[in-house]
């Protein structure tokens, strides 16, 4: 099945902040779309829009062929279970006085999906087992678990609702390296076993690249490049992507010390006052007059590889053209 989820031209206005502006992409069932960007790039806003948690100002989001806004409230309530999110800090969303069995099955009670204590405990046990938490611990409380275990519990809670689409927002960013690998492996295993679809939001390019099939690079509310994951490192087109890749060191001195370095000047501008023309022009080492005047088109350069830069055409990146 193709194109179950489509987000078309969404634009959300928060005051005068265009957190996400003119973003279009599609995700196929069972695929993982990675979204990378720095703080203020609008990547979390994008995730919330896709989930239908934020009212988008303009544009359409299609989920399994249906536009989210056109779905009646009652049907949307049922749909909510299928569209789920996991966040960076699961602890803050757990009631400290509830044991983890109750936390995992909380959503089921809200949606009246299960009644009866025994059935709930069975589900909790199954879910905890699936994420690698010993079901014997199901009557313990959140504070008795470590950060990595809490993230597993939060995944179990999400899975209990039997979603098919999950937005993972920086779910491994706060974890230690060794624990991060455990969670990434778990997410991959679950995706394969349950044929889930993810949007995997992160700021660590190597983790996002590792788990994703396709990567969207965001900058100031825009997707500046969308590419198959494997192609992004080999053939980055947008100057921002290039600098992002360059800024992410490779944990192997033999390789890293030979890499070309592009150091960006300055920091991401405030989304309140995005620059005219190309959003990246204030920090771009190749910026020319045209970049300050016109916004570049988001175009497909090679199959599945899109970018929005004045200096990119079918033959590649040519700085200085039209300057």
């Amino acid at each position: 099945m193709h194109f179950p989820v489509t987000a078309g031209l969404l634009k959300r206005t928060v005051g005068h902040v265009k957190a996400v502006d003119g973003v279009s992409f599609t995700i196929k069932r069972g695929q993982i779309l990675g979204v990378v960007g720095e703080s203020g790039s609008g990547k979390s806003t994008l995730g919330n829009c896709v989930l239908g948690l934020l009212d988008y100002t303009d544009g359409e989001i299609y989920y399994e062929g249906q536009e989210l806004k056109s779905i009646p409230k009652k049907a949307m309530k049922r749909l909510r279970n299928r569209l789920q999110a996991i966040s960076q800090d699961p602890f803050s969303s757990m009631d400290p006085r509830m044991d983890i069995a109750a936390i995992v099955t909380e959503g089921l009670s809200i949606h009246d999906m299960v009644k009866g204590k025994k059935e709930k405990e069975e589900i909790a046990a199954r879910m905890l087992e699936m994420v690698g938490i010993n079901p014997a611990f199901m009557h313990r409380f959140p504070h008795e678990f470590s950060g990595g275990q809490r993230q597993r519990i939060s995944i179990a809670r999400t899975l209990a609702l039997q979603p098919n689409f999950i937005v993972c927002d920086e779910i491994v960013s706060a974890l230690d390296v060794s624990i991060q690998a455990q969670i990434v492996n778990l997410m991959e295993k679950l995706q394969q076993e349950l044929n889930l679809t993810y949007i995997f939001i992160g700021h660590d390019l190597s983790v996002v690249r590792h788990i994703s099939d396709g990567i969207a690079v965001m900058y100031l509310g825009k997707i500046v490049e969308l590419s198959p994951a494997k192609e992004l490192y080999q053939n980055p087109l947008h100057p921002y992507t290039k600098s992002l890749i360059s800024a992410a060191p490779i944990p192997d001195p033999a390789v890293d010390k030979k890499r070309e370095r592009i150091l960006l000047q300055g920091e991401i501008p405030s989304p309140m006052h995005p620059p005219e023309g190309c959003r990246f022009c204030t920090r771009c080492p190749y910026a020319a007059a045209v970049c300050h005047e016109a916004e570049p088109e988001f175009t497909e350069v090679s199959p599945g590889h899109f970018t929005a830069c004045h200096f990119v055409d079918k033959t590649g990146f040519h700085p200085g053209k039209g300057a």
Binding site: S178, H210, P251, D252, P253, A254, E267
Partner: protein, 337 residues
């Protein structure tokens, strides 16, 4: 440049936890750092890497923490034997430190200029105007645009990256012999992280300051460090030149750590995940390798005796009883991939 500027011997810093248990945060930490070197200390949360660094400067809050013993030879003096007043004179002048969250590490009610000049005038006799001029020069040195105006601003008017640059300017104000950076870029965005680290490296080359970088980011280490020390359970488990550690890790923890990080430049396959959780340093037995509970090679010896650092090759040292088996398995895995 073979002379050691810093030698830490058997440093022990413990905390009394909330439940009254003694947490052995730093437990027999020993290492040395060469003058002018860029050394990285890698560790996960709870490994004692930050406590170890704060202990060098004797900045452990008491209660609940206490430095129980050990020797810190810095430039020919044992810092643990200095009086409080002597220690105050040394901090900021000979050893400086920058911290993880620049927004919290700068005083919100004082201007950037006031905070930098304070660092200068605490140690160097200098007129107010002269110190102010120097603060501006320092901000210019760390590439802060328009320093004459910026120096009058408060920390909240700076972005995260600029706050950390201001911290670096402050730390470098008295040209210290040693700069300790405790996760200086963890709170920053990727492109800003690269800028800040590049800045630190650049200043080191310019001034000859020795740098100790505390981090959990292996990539950052690979890019900048000359030598690496890996901390686990309050002590060093492996150390050596950066190239040697990444190409030929001997400790099962180091091997696991390197294989746990996905690579941007190639397919990583399934990530290697070290089982279990970082140790709780109040419950690990004193006479046990702290990694034993998570180690696939652990046997009885590992839980009854603490392995000491032994030389592998040149400066490369490792604390493990099963190094041969670790390397065997590592090479098999590499051949499979």
């Amino acid at each position: 440049m073979e002379e050691n500027i810093l030698e830490v011997k058997n440093l022990r810093t413990h905390f009394i936890g909330k439940n009254g248990k003694q947490v052995r945060a730093v437990d027999g930490l020993s290492y040395s750092v060469k003058r002018g070197e860029f050394t990285a200390i890698i560790g996960e949360s709870g490994s004692g890497k930050t406590v170890g660094a704060l202990s060098l400067l004797r900045l452990i809050p008491y209660p609940p923490g206490l430095i129980l013993g050990g020797e810190v030879m810095f430039d020919g003096r044992d810092l643990m034997q200095l009086s409080d007043a002597e220690m105050e004179k040394l901090r900021g002048l000979e050893i400086s430190m920058i911290f993880q969250e620049p927004a919290a590490a700068l005083n919100p009610v004082l201007t950037i200029g006031e905070q930098i000049t304070e660092a200068i005038t605490t140690h160097i006799k200098m007129g107010k105007q002269e110190a102010w001029e120097k603060a501006i020069a320092l901000l210019r040195m760390v590439d802060i645009p328009n320093p004459e105006e910026r120096v009058k601003q408060y920390p909240f008017e700076f972005s995260g990256g600029m706050q950390q640059r201001a911290m670096i300017a402050m730390a470098m104000s008295c040209e210290p012999k040693l700069l300790i950076c405790d996760e200086p870029t963890t709170a920053l965005d990727v492109t800003v992280q690269a800028q800040v680290l590049e800045q630190i490296d650049h200043l080191r080359k310019q001034t000859g300051t020795t740098v100790i970088l505390i981090t959990h980011n292996l990539g950052v280490v690979a890019r900048h460090a000359d030598s690496v020390k890996i901390m686990y359970g309050g002590k060093i488990v492996e150390e050596g030149p950066t190239e040697a550690i990444f190409a030929d890790p001997h400790h099962p923890y180091t091997v696991g750590l390197i294989r746990a990080v996905p690579r941007l430049d190639r397919e990583s396959g399934k990530l290697f995940a070290i089982e279990g959780e970082p140790p709780d340093m109040s419950s690990v037995p004193v006479n046990s390798c702290a990694f034993a509970a998570r180690c696939p090679y652990a046997d009885e010896r590992c839980t009854s005796e603490r392995p000491a650092l032994t030389a592998v090759e040149g400066k490369h040292r490792c604390a493990c009883f099963h190094m041969e088996r670790v390397i065997e398995t590592r090479e098999e895995a590499a051949a499979d991939a």
